[in-house]
Each structure stands twice: as C-alpha cells, then as structure tokens.
C-alpha cells in the first residue's frame, strides 16, 4: 500500500517537490477511484449505510443552518428592496440567492466540516490501527469498501441535502416575509418558481454533485494517506476540511463562470 505512493527525491526544492509529489499522488488516487468504481464487487450495503450516515445524521445541522440563513437573508434584504418599493420582489430575490448560491455553498461547507472531517479521521484511524491492512489481507479490497463507497455516498447525498436546504431556507424566508407582509405560501412559491430558470436548478444540482464528490474524495485521500500515529489522524481530519473548503470555493467560482457563459443572451 505504502509502496504505491511517490517518494520525495529532492529534485527541485523540498517544498516544491512535496507539492508536485502530493499532486501526483492525488491524481493517482483519483484515477484509482475512477477505475475501481466500475468493477465488481459492488458494496451496495455499505453505500446505503454511508448515505444514511452522511444524509440522515447531517439533517439537524443542515435544517437549522438553512432555516436561519433563509430568515437572516430575508431580513437583511428587505430594507434595501423597501427603499425602492420593491418588497414584493423579496421571494424572487431570496429564491435566486438560495438556489443559485447559498443553498449549495452552505450545505457543502457544513458537510465539509461535518462529513469530510469524519471521513478523514475514520480512515486515518483505520490506517493507524492497521484495520485497512487487515481488510487487505482478508482478500477484501479496502479501497473499494472504504473509499469508493464513501465518495459515492457523498456525491449522491449532497445534492439531496442541497435541495432540502433550499426548501428549508425558503420556508425560513417565507416565515420572515409573512411576519411583515400578508403573503400566502402558494403566492410565495409561485413567485419563487417564476424567478428560477431551468438553468438555475440544473446548475445548482450539478454543482452540488461536484461539491459532494470533492468532500468525499478529499476526506478519503487525506485519511488514506494520513501520517502514522494519533497526531496523523487529527491532521487528516483537519486537512480534509481545509482542502475541501478551499476546493469548494474554487469550484463555485468556476461553475459560476461556466453558467454565466450559458446565461448570456
């Protein structure tokens, strides 16, 4: 297992060498995922278990955060719109903000903290305590059982969590709107869907798939390659969160550019 990673040979400078070696190892890890995901045995039971862990266990935090984001964003936006007599545009504004950006971003950042760190720590701990080696010697492919299942689960569950966050956020916004103006739920959601285009929803979902994949693969990579020792477990958990968040922001920026390109008349 450890034989498969590129070693530091001090070719350019230690820091630069480490960067390129890390990059090479990350691409090798990614390539291994895309190769192994297609071939049996398929660990369906473990994928379902991971989906439950990632999805169901994240619900309380996601619900609370999404709901508060909806309320706060509505309250913050109202005065500016009211100044121009455009308070009735509030549902449309909130819908665009939540579905296009806030929902996916908030969910992904929370999942990176909660799910990414737990994947990094779990795999790191399994490596330290030789559980990964134990799987390998019992003729089970640990990469398939531990990495492929977790990455599939995050890729599948984050978009679902994003849709849920969007819904909860909009409900929070609705409560905030009805506290000040008399608007029915139907009217609110009619305005919401009028403001959204097909591109908004599909780009939001595709972005969520990308975020989910990133959280899973980064958590697994950091855990799988964590340094030995208990300190390594902590480092793996921490690095999973930091790296995933960093990549999520970059992806958000890239996806925005691509979507804007398609949005242009």
């Amino acid at each position: 297992m450890s034989d498969n990673t590129t070693k530091n040979t001090n070719f350019i400078s230690p820091k630069l060498d480490n960067f390129f070696i890390g990059l090479a190892n990350a691409f090798r890890f990614l390539k291994r995922f895309f190769v192994e995901v297609w071939f049996p045995p398929y660990e369906f039971k473990e994928v379902v278990r991971q989906c439950y862990q990632i999805g169901y266990n994240s619900l309380p935090l996601i619900s609370l955060t999404g709901f508060i984001v909806g309320i706060v964003f509505t309250n913050q936006s109202r005065p500016s719109l009211a100044e121009f007599g455009a308070s009735s545009w509030l549902p449309a504004l909130i819908a665009i903000a939540i579905v296009r950006a806030m929902g996916p971003l908030v969910t992904a950042l929370i999942a990176a903290g909660k799910v990414g760190s737990s994947i990094g720590a779990e795999l790191g701990s399994m490596k330290v305590t030789e559980q990964i080696d134990a799987m390998e010697v019992s003729a089970t492919n640990p990469f398939k059982y531990l990495v492929v299942t977790r990455v599939l689960a995050t890729t599948f569950m984050i978009p679902i969590l994003v849709m849920y966050t969007d819904f909860v956020g909009l409900m929070g916004s609705f409560l905030s709107v009805t506290a000040n103006e008399k608007v029915s739920l139907t009217t609110f959601f009619v305005q919401v869907f009028d403001a959204l285009s097909f591109l908004d929803i599909t780009s939001s979902l595709l972005k969520s798939v990308l975020f989910g994949f990133t959280i899973g693969i980064v958590g697994c990579y950091k855990g799988w390659n964590s340094p030995k020792g208990t300190e390594g477990v902590g480092q793996a958990a921490n690095a999973s969160v930091v790296m995933a968040m960093f990549l999520i922001f970059i992806e958000e920026l890239l996806v925005l550019q691509i979507v804007n390109f398609f949005r242009m008349p």
Binding site: S2, K7, M126, E130, D133, A134, V137, S138, A139
Partner: protein, 250 residues
C-alpha cells in the same frame, strides 16, 4: 522430506537508507511453528508483511505455498491471502463493527453460498474455539487487550487458513493472558493444522510456541534452531545477550 509452505531466499528490503532486511533466508515446513525473535525495529514485522503481500521485497525470492508472491496480482494474490491468516499486533479489529460482524466480514466476502444459519454456526464455532462465544455481540472497544487478540485470531481462523502469521501476539499483555495466548497459538496449530510464523521479542512465547526459533540480527538471521540449542550453544554474543537466557530458564 517435509513439505515447505514458505521458502525465503536472499530477501532484502530497505526504506530509504534504512536497510531493514539484508539477506534473509527462512523455510517454514508444514505443521511447524517458527518463531522469529529480534529487537524492536529489526524488521520482523516487515518480513511477515512481505510474506502476505502488504509490502514487496527489493531483492530475493519468496515462495508461499509454491507461489511467488511478488508476481501475484489481483485475484491470484487474494486467493493466496485466503490461505494465510494474519494476526496483527494491535488486533486491528474493525471498531465500527461488533465481534459477530468482524467475523462475518471476511466470511461473507470470500465464502459464497453460505446460508445465514451456516454462517452463524461457523462464527459461533470459531468464537467457541478461542473461548469467547459470550462476546459475540460486543463492540471491540468493550473488550480487553487479550480478548481483542483472541477475536483477531478468530477472524483469521474463520477462513480456515493453512498458514498463520502472528505479529507480536503477546505484546502489551499481562503474564497470565500471555500464557493463554501461547496456549491458544498451540491449540490453533493442533485444531486447524496450521503452519505458523510467530513474530515476537517475548522469550517465553518463543519457548512455549516455537518448534524452531530464528533470531533476526541486523537484517540477517544470526541463529536458527530449537530454542534450547539457539540460546545454550550460541556462538554469537548478540544472540547470547539478546535476553538473559538464564533468567528466563530460572
């Protein structure tokens, strides 16, 4: 002539500038327990990790049940691994699973067409053989060090291996539990007809479980033979001083 199950010739392994194994030769015969003794960091664990294919040697040949491990990949390597049981130093139990699930994990992946009842019977039988049937629904965190070792051994036995590799089976255990583990290693050999390599620096364990001992010194075997022969007639001062033999025999 006795059948060799493991044949190692001129094995070398380095980690950077650290030459861990310099020239290792070892044979393991069918039905035999060989104890590999040595100080910490002399490459004992590296040796058995090479045997099971977790690491690969830099040079030298290694035949396990007639197969060259270095040349095996994928299904062939897995098929060989099913015939080798590996008991890890820290037991390496899957801590998110119960004892039953730990034993079920290799079984359901490698032994097809077993009914639920047959699987349960198999698990209970193996747990009974290590004397821990009552722990079947416990989590690894609820077990003592000795119990974890036993469950770790049971998990390997469930696949009925021909070869057992024990990595420091008595490390970190109290003397009474050490005796129990030594007895279990001998019992496994008798009951399951296994051939074993036992890695340890515990001379009592070596004496109790080994048909033959080999002392690893600076990457090569400094002495090899029956326990008494190795330590009584040792010509190498490093072997003599490895542990105070007189102290042990007293």
């Amino acid at each position: 002539m006795e059948e060799k199950v493991i044949e190692i010739r001129g094995l070398k392994k380095s980690f950077g500038d650290n030459h861990v194994l310099r020239e290792v030769d070892l044979d393991l015969y069918k039905g035999e327990n060989v104890v590999v003794l040595g100080k910490s960091g002399t490459g004992k664990s590296v040796l058995i990790k090479i045997v099971v294919g977790l690491l690969t040697q830099d040079e030298g040949s290694l035949l396990v049940l007639g197969k060259d491990v270095k040349k095996l990949k994928g299904k062939e390597l897995n098929a060989l691994r099913l015939k080798i049981g590996f008991s890890f130093q820290a037991s390496a139990l899957y801590d998110s699973m119960t004892v039953r699930e730990n034993l079920e994990f290799p079984l359901e992946r490698n032994v097809k067409n077993l009914s639920r009842a047959e699987r349960d019977k198999e698990i209970e039988q193996v747990l009974d053989s290590v004397g821990l049937l009552q722990a079947i629904n416990q989590m690894p965190a609820e077990l003592s060090g000795g119990q974890k070792k036993r469950i770790g051994i049971a998990r390997t036995l469930i696949l009925r291996p021909e070869i057992m590799l024990y990595d420091e089976p008595t490390a970190g255990l109290d003397p009474i539990t050490c005796i129990e583990i030594n007895n279990l290693i001998n019992q496994v050999k008798e009951t399951y007809n296994t051939s074993s390599i036992i890695i340890t620096h515990d001379l009592t364990c070596a004496k109790e479980t080994g048909d033959r001992v080999a002392v690893l010194l600076d990457g090569v075997f400094g002495a090899e033979g029956k326990f008494e022969d190795v330590f009584v007639d040792a010509s190498d001062q490093r072997v003599k001083s490895f542990y105070d033999y007189n102290f042990i025999t007293q």
